[in-house]
Structure formats: structure tokens, C-alpha cells
Symmetry: C2
Subunit: 211 residues, 2 copies
């Protein structure tokens, strides 16, 4: 099995590395980081660069696609290289997945029309505008499409899909190996749980975050 | 403030990116990935490479040091470039931190003698042999030394230290922005919680994992 994790300028690193470190431990799978061109790809803050080992053109038919998100601007151009590749790759994939605003890329490529999906909590309205049916769940599976909520949700998605493909015990092994027994020091991980004034702060600035 | 995240051959990616994505959002902080030489550094599986933007020699006195772990072999040579740099950098740092077996590097550099600390659950005995006082906690703070348990624990560590430095509300903001509201699909994230046969499988192979 080939897993392709797509990188593009200003992606969010944990969106990519969460699923990488979990789903990427699928037995007999080869994971490859891909981008429009092979080479270093800078993240949203500019101070982290992951290497795309292959160009999109070299990886036309991965079995599993993973699209991380980012704060934007996202490469949403319908006839741009990323969405063009996504449509072709998705036609042959076994699973097409995303983390955070990565689902906006899937939706903009036309892949989530009428499908239940999720995204970063700030982007759920925009996901709806692209034709998907947004839920507030952390990991959503609709057919072969698996989408995750914001940033850290990719870890839960990776384990969920890993269990689906390789069986629960294998996913438990990976959870144990990555010691994924979360103990967040605060309880502010969603807009429902965080203090209202902090949620408001985010909503006020979301125009900045997502453009 | 300068945060230096150390990379070395066969490091574990999520160990580095977890704290990066949380602690790295400290206001007015500059985060830099460093390694013995600037350039791409391959992870434990060989299919992911992060760019070290600076060489260790160019970043002699970061305010915060973050040392990720890996399955080994680790660069534990007492007079090797990494441990030599660690001792000097630690002498001036405000915080010296690690994730997973990264604490073995801190301990081998002599920084954790008699200090409470933690590591990947498979490495707690080895941590003790290096003179530290291992606890099974997920994030341990002893003076300026903050160590985290395995792999994914770096996220909890990042938020803990972020809260300590920038205040609880700022850490809550980052938790909200990274939507860190974990919902693991299984409950096997520690040796206490995982099924005994899976824990046993790991212990049998830990010689392979840590050498």
C-alpha cells in the first residue's frame, strides 16, 4: 500500500505528522511525502520545512491520500496542480483523507459533495459552502472519505483508519508505542469547552487565519 | 526568546512536531530546528526529513532546548557533538526539555542526576541507569528540566510549559487553535491500560527498538 501525504506552502506541520506517525505505521505500507515539486516545503509559520521526496506527478495513484490543512491561503484553484492531482488520485484511491482545513481542498476538488465531513472548527461554514455536509465530530468517515477536525485531530484519525484497515489490535499497538494517553493540562480543546472569551477572540480573527 | 529543537539521525518526528506546534506558538519566540549540520535530517523510518535550518554551532545559547527521542541508536557519546552542545547550551538555558527517549540524551549529558524525570515507558529503566529518578508521569518538571513520556506526550508537555511561561489563557488559546480535544479510538495508550499481550509484545522487542 502506498500512502501519500501532500505538502504545500503554508501547511500546518502537526496536521501532516499526526497521521504520519499513526497511520504511517500500517504494516507493509510505504509512506511518501509529495508536493507539486520535490524538495523542501515550508509550513504556515515559515520556520519548519518538511521534505517532499516526490513530486505529485511521480505519485499518481496512491492507495491512501492524506491532505493536511493550514491557516491559508490554501491552493484552492480548481484547475491548479494540487486539485487536478487530487481528482485523478482520488479516482483510484482506496481512502481519501484530510486533517483540519485539508477538507476544504477535498471539497473544492468536488470530492465531498453531499458527504458528511469535518474540518477545523473555524472552517465548518466554509466547508458547507463547498458542498459538503459538515458535522462537529472529530473524525468523520463517509464511504472512503475520512476527514478530521483541526490540527491534532489527525492523530485520532490516523489511529481510527489504521484500526479499520489493519485491525484494532494493530491500532492499539501503535497507540501504545506512541504512548498516546493524552492528558491535556487544560480543557479548552473545542469551542464548546473553551472559555467564551477565547472562542470569541478566535472568531474575530478567523478572517486573518483563513485567508 | 529562542527555542531550539534538536534533530539527529533517526529521531521520531512527532516527538519534535508536538512541542513545535504548541510551545512553538509562544508569543515573541523564535523557533529554530538545529542539528550537527544544517540540512535535511531523516527520521527513524527514513521516509520523513525535517530541515535543520541552523547548525548547533550557530545556536549556542537558546532560551529553551527541546530534545526529541527516537528508537535508537541515539547519539549518546559523551564527547560527541550533540551532548557537548547540550551541556553548554543547558548551562545558559531557561528551560531544558525532552520528549520520549530524548531524556536519555539529557541524562547521558549529566543534566538529570538526581532529578525526577520521565521517558518513553520502555526506557524508564535505562533512564534510571543514567542517574535520573524516573517517574511514570506523562510530563515531569524538576527545576528547569521538563521531560515528557513517549512520542505524543510532547503535545501535553508543550502546552504545560507554554502555560507556565505565557499564562494559562495563552495555552488554552493554543489548545483551542490546535483543537486538542483528544478522543482516542482505543484505550491502549500506556502499559497500564493496554492489553497485557500487546505490552508483552513490546517488551520482547524493546531491545530491537532501543538499540
Amino acid at each position: 500500500m502506498q500512502i501519500a501525504i501532500v505538502l504545500y506552502d503554508r501547511f500546518t506541520a502537526l496536521d501532516a505528522v499526526g497521521p504520519y506517525e499513526t497511520l504511517g505505521r500500517l504494516p507493509d505500507a510505504e509512506t511518501v511525502f509529495v508536493a507539486e515539486e520535490a524538495g523542501p516545503v515550508r509550513n504556515d509559520s515559515g520556520n519548519l520545512a518538511l521534505l517532499a521526496d516526490r513530486a505529485l506527478a511521480e505519485v499518481p495513484h496512491p492507495d491512501i491520500i492524506v491532505v493536511p490543512g493550514g491557516p491559508g491561503p490554501l491552493p484552492l484553484a480548481a484547475d491548479g496542480p494540487l486539485l487536478t492531482w487530487l481528482r485523478t488520485a482520488d479516482a483510484a484511491s482506496t481512502w481519501t483523507t484530510s486533517v483540519c482545513t485539508g477538507s476544504l481542498l477535498l471539497a473544492a476538488a468536488g470530492l465531498l459533495r453531499g458527504r458528511r465531513a469535518t474540518s477545523h472548527w473555524l472552517a465548518l461554514e466554509e466547508l458547507k459552502r463547498h458542498g459538503a455536509d459538515p458535522t462537529g465530530e472529530r473524525v468523520v468517515t463517509d464511504g472512503k472519505y475520512v476527514t478530521a477536525a483541526g490540527v491534532s485531530s489527525g492523530i485520532d484519525m490516523g489511529l481510527t483508519l489504521l484500526g479499520r484497515i489493519a485491525g484494532d489490535d494493530h491500532a492499539r499497538l501503535v497507540q501504545l508505542g506512541t504512548e498516546y494517553d493524552p492528558q491535556p493540562p487544560y480543557d479548552a480543546g473545542s469551542p464548546e469547552k473553551a472559555p467564551a472569551h477565547l472562542v470569541e477572540l478566535f472568531r474575530e480573527h478567523s478572517g486573518v487565519i483563513l485567508t
